[in-house]
C-alpha cells in the first residue's frame, strides 16, 4: 500500500497550489509507469482517505498508466512491452532492452473557476 504515501504527496502539492491560487481544486491527473505498481483501486481509496476534511474532498482523480516500451536488439523496433508475450512483435526476437519506465507524475490540477458559483 505505497499508495498512501503517494496520495499524501499528491495532496500536499495540490493544497500548496490551491493556497497559492486561492481556488478550489476539482480534478487532478496523475500518471505512472508500469514498474511503480500503482493500483487504481488502492490509489483512489488512499486519495479519498487523505483528502477527507480538506478543500480537496470529493475531487476527481484521473490515473493514467503509461506503457513500458522496449527496443528490440535485433530489428531496433520500439514496442509496448507485454509480460504475456515478451517478444518483439516485428521479428519475434526475445532480446530487447527496456526504455526508461515513466515516473510517477502529478500532471495537472484543475481548479474551480472563481466565477463559477455552483456551476457543475
Amino acid at each position: 500500500m505505497h499508495e498512501t504515501a503517494v496520495a499524501q504527496s499528491v495532496l500536499d502539492t495540490i493544497l500548496e497550489q490551491a493556497d497559492k491560487l486561492s481556488a478550489r481544486p476539482v480534478r487532478a491527473v496523475i500518471s505512472c509507469g508500469q514498474f511503480n505498481a500503482l493500483n487504481d483501486e488502492a490509489m483512489r481509496f488512499a486519495f479519498e482517505a487523505a483528502t477527507e476534511g480538506t478543500v480537496c474532498d470529493a475531487m476527481q482523480l484521473v490515473i493514467k498508466h503509461i506503457p513500458l516500451r522496449a527496443k528490440c536488439d535485433h530489428c531496433d523496433r520500439l514496442f509496448e512491452f507485454d509480460i504475456y508475450t515478451p517478444a518483439c512483435p516485428e521479428c519475434k526476437s526475445e532480446h530487447f532492452n527496456f526504455q526508461a519506465d515513466a515516473p510517477l507524475l502529478l500532471e495537472e490540477i484543475e481548479f474551480e473557476n472563481p466565477n463559477d458559483k455552483g456551476g457543475l
Partner: protein, 216 residues
C-alpha cells in the same frame, strides 16, 4: 482553470535520496538496499555475511520493519552496528528515514551499509533510498512465479539471490522458469544461488560483494 505541473510525485523522497547519495560518497560508503518478501532470509543472509567477512569488511545495517527491533538484535549479535527503523505500518522505507539512520550509525568506522527494507515485493521498489545497489532475495519456498508477478522489483535489481537453494529438491520449484522470467525483465542482474543457512553458494555472493566494493 487548469494548472500544468508535471511534477514528480515522490520528489521529496528523491531529494532525500540524493542527500543520502552525497552523504555516502562523502564517507566513502557503499550502500546496498535489500528487498524481498517476508521470510526470504534477508536477516540470516546478513548475519552470515557479517560473520564470514568480519576480517574483510566493516558492515553496518539499517533495519526496516513495521514493528519490533528483533532484526537489529540479530545483527548486533552477529557483531555489526545496527539501527532499527520501526515504520509503524508503512510498507517500505523512505529516504528521509534512511537519512536519519545514517546519522545514527558509526559511519566513519564502516565500509558498507546494508539497508534491510520492510519485507514486501511491491512497495519498496518505488522508493529510491540513495543506495548504490539493489539486492533482491527470492527464496525457494515462495514459488517460481515471483519474478513474473512482481516485475518492477526484479527489473531494478543489480543482484538477485535465490536463497534456500538447499530446499529445492523438496519443493516444486522450476528454477529454469525463474531464470528465463528474470532474463526477460533484467538481462543485467547477477543471479546467485545460495543457502544462507548452510553456506552453500555464499562464496559467490562474497566475491560479487568484494568486487563491487573494490570497483568504487
Amino acid at each position: 482553470m487548469k494548472v500544468n505541473l508535471n511534477t514528480r510525485i515522490l520528489s521529496k523522497n528523491e531529494q532525500a535520496a540524493e542527500q543520502n547519495r552525497v552523504f555516502l560518497a562523502d564517507h566513502k560508503l557503499a550502500c546496498l538496499n535489500l528487498i524481498s518478501s517476508p521470510g526470504s532470509g534477508k536477516t540470516t543472509l546478513l548475519a552470515r555475511t557479517i560473520t564470514d567477512l568480519k576480517d574483510k569488511l566493516r558492515i553496518g545495517v539499517i533495519e526496516g520493519d513495521i514493528k519490533t527491533d528483533y532484526d537489529a538484535q540479530r545483527i548486533r549479535a552477529a557483531g555489526a552496528a545496527a539501527i532499527q527503523i520501526e515504520t509503524e505500518g508503512a510498507c517500505h522505507l523512505s529516504a528521509p528515514q534512511v537519512n536519519w539512520a545514517l546519522n545514527n550509525l558509526p559511519v566513519n568506522d564502516l565500509d558498507l551499509v546494508f539497508i534491510e527494507n520492510v519485507g514486501n515485493l511491491v512497495c519498496p521498489s518505488a522508493f529510491d533510498l540513495g543506495e548504490s545497489g539493489r539486492v533482491v532475495v527470492l527464496s525457494i519456498p515462495e514459488g517460481d512465479d515471483k519474478p513474473a508477478k512482481y516485475p518492477g522489483t526484479f527489473a531494478n535489481a543489480d543482484v538477485i539471490l535465490i536463497n534456500k537453494i538447499d530446499l529445492i529438491s523438496y519443493l516444486k520449484f522450476d528454477l529454469q522458469r525463474v531464470l528465463s522470467d528474470i532474463a526477460v525483465l533484467n538481462s543485467k542482474a547477477i543471479i546467485v544461488q545460495i543457502s544462507a543457512a548452510t553456506g552453500q553458494g555464499m562464496q559467490s555472493w562474497y566475491d560479487w560483494l568484494m568486487a563491487r566494493l573494490a570497483s568504487r
